[in-house]
Amino acid sequence: MDDRDLQYQKYKAILVNYLEEQSEQTLYKGQQFSRKMIEQKISPEEAVSLHVSVLEELFPDIPEPLKNSYDFLLEMMIGYGFAYREHQSLRSRQQQLESEIEIAANMQQTLLAGDKPEVPSLEIGAISKPAQKMSGDYYHFVQDENDCVSVAIADVIGKGIPAALCMSMIKYTMDSAPEQRMQPGAVLENLNRVVEQNVDPNMFITMFYGLYDPRVHSFYYAGAGHEPGFFYDSQKDEFEELFTRGLVLGVSKKTSYQEYQRVLNGNDMVIMLSDGVTECRSTNGFIERDEIVALIRKYIHLSAQEIVEEVYRELERLQEFELRDDFTLVILRREV
C-alpha cells in the first residue's frame, strides 16, 4: 500500500467513525490528521478530492447535483491551493533570508567587537545591543603604546541592514587613519569627508569621539551631532552634560569640529551613549535624561561594566523587552 492509499484508508476510517457518532474525540482525530496532511504538503484541492473520493465509495448513489457541486468546490480550492503553495515558497525564502542575515550579523559582531582595553587606572564598561538583528550603532576602542585609549561611538540614523552596511564604512575609515587618533577634531573631519562622499544624502551619522590620556588624566573629545554624554564629577557628586558643537557627519563637505578637554580626578566618569538609550520609551512616554542619570547613580557603587549592564537591564524592562532603537552605553572611570 503506498502513502496515498494509506492516507485514503486512514481518512476513510476517521470519517466513517464520525458519521457513526459525531463525537468531539473524532473531530480531534481529524484535526491531528489534517496537521499530518499539511506536513506532507497535501494541498487544499487534494484534501477536498480525498474527501470526495471517500464519499463516493461510501455512498455510491450520491445524487448527481451533489456530485457536480464537488467538482465546483474542487475548482474553487485550486485558487486556495495556489495561495497556499505561494505561502510555502515565500516562507522558505524568508528562512533563507533570515539565515543570511544571521551570518551577516555574526560577521558584524566580529567586526565590531573591539577588545575592551586593559589600562591601569582606567575602568571601562561598555554594552551595545541591536534593536534588530543587525546594529546601526558602533563603538570601538583602540589602545596605543602609551596606554592612551580612544573611544568612538557612532549612530547611523536608521536601523537594520542599511545602517549596518554604512557603519562598516566608519570602521574601515577609522582603521585607515591611525595617525589622527590623537586629535578628535581631525578624526571627525576626516570621517565627515568620507561619509559625505560615499553615503546616500538622506543617511546621516552622528558620532562622538574621545581620547583618554592616562599620563595627564585628560579626556579629549569632539562630537558630530551626537547625543551628548555626561561627565561625573565625583568631588561635587554631580553629573554634567558633555556638550559638543559640530554638525552631523555627511551633511556638509567642509565642517570643522571643535575639540574639548576634561581632566579626570579619581572616580570621575565619562559616560557616552547612543540615542537608543535616551529614546527608550516606557508606557509613560520617553525616558528623560535625568532618569538615565538617576539610574547610573543608583548603581554607581558597582564596577563600570556592572553599571552599564544594570542600566541596560532596567531600561529593557521598562520597555517591556522590546528595543526600539539600537542601544549603546559606554562608561570610562578613572580609578583612584
Binding site: 484541492e45 487534494e46 478530492s49 470526495v52 467538482d71 475548482e75 485550486i78 495556489f82 515558497s89 525564502r93
Partner: protein, 133 residues
C-alpha cells in the same frame, strides 16, 4: 492517437474555450479530477495573461510522449510587448497583488515542466507540461 487543439485568444470567451479544450484533452488522457482542475487553471492563467497584456495570441494544447511517459503540453504564445525582466515575474509575490491572479510562479508549481521565452517588443512563448503519473 493525435490529440491537439489550438485556441486563439482575443477576448474572455476565448479563455473559456481554451479551458474547455484543455479539460477535455486532460480527461481523455486519463488525468484525475484534481490534475484536470490544475491543468485547466494553468491554461486559464496563461490565456488570461495573453488577453490582459498582449491583447491577442494563442494557446495550443497537445499530447506529448517521452520515454513511455504520457503528458499534456500547453504552449501559450503572443506577439505582445514581451516581458522585460523574466526573473522578476517568476518571483513569488511580485504579480499576485498586481491582478495577474496566481502569476507565473503559481502556474509553474501547478505543472511539472515550465519554460518561458520572451523578448521585449517581440512577444512571449510559455511552454508547460504536466505528466500523467
Amino acid at each position: 492517437m493525435n490529440i491537439q487543439s489550438c485556441v486563439e485568444v482575443r477576448n474572455e470567451w476565448d479563455i473559456v474555450k481554451a479551458r474547455q479544450s484543455g479539460r477535455n484533452i486532460a480527461k481523455e488522457l486519463g488525468f484525475g479530477t484534481v490534475d484536470q482542475a490544475r491543468i485547466t487553471t494553468a491554461i486559464s492563467e496563461l490565456a488570461r495573461n495573453i488577453y490582459l497584456y498582449a491583447g491577442s495570441g494563442e494557446v495550443a494544447i497537445e499530447r506529448v510522449e517521452n520515454g513511455g511517459k504520457l503528458g499534456l503540453k500547453i504552449e501559450a504564445s503572443d506577439s505582445g510587448p514581451g516581458i522585460k525582466d523574466i526573473r522578476k515575474v517568476m518571483e513569488d509575490g511580485f504579480t499576485t497583488s498586481g491582478g495577474l491572479g496566481a502569476g507565473l510562479p503559481g502556474v509553474k508549481r501547478l505543472m511539472d515542466e515550465f519554460t518561458i521565452d520572451s523578448k521585449e517588443n517581440e512577444g512571449t512563448v510559455i511552454t508547460s507540461i504536466k505528466w500523467l503519473r
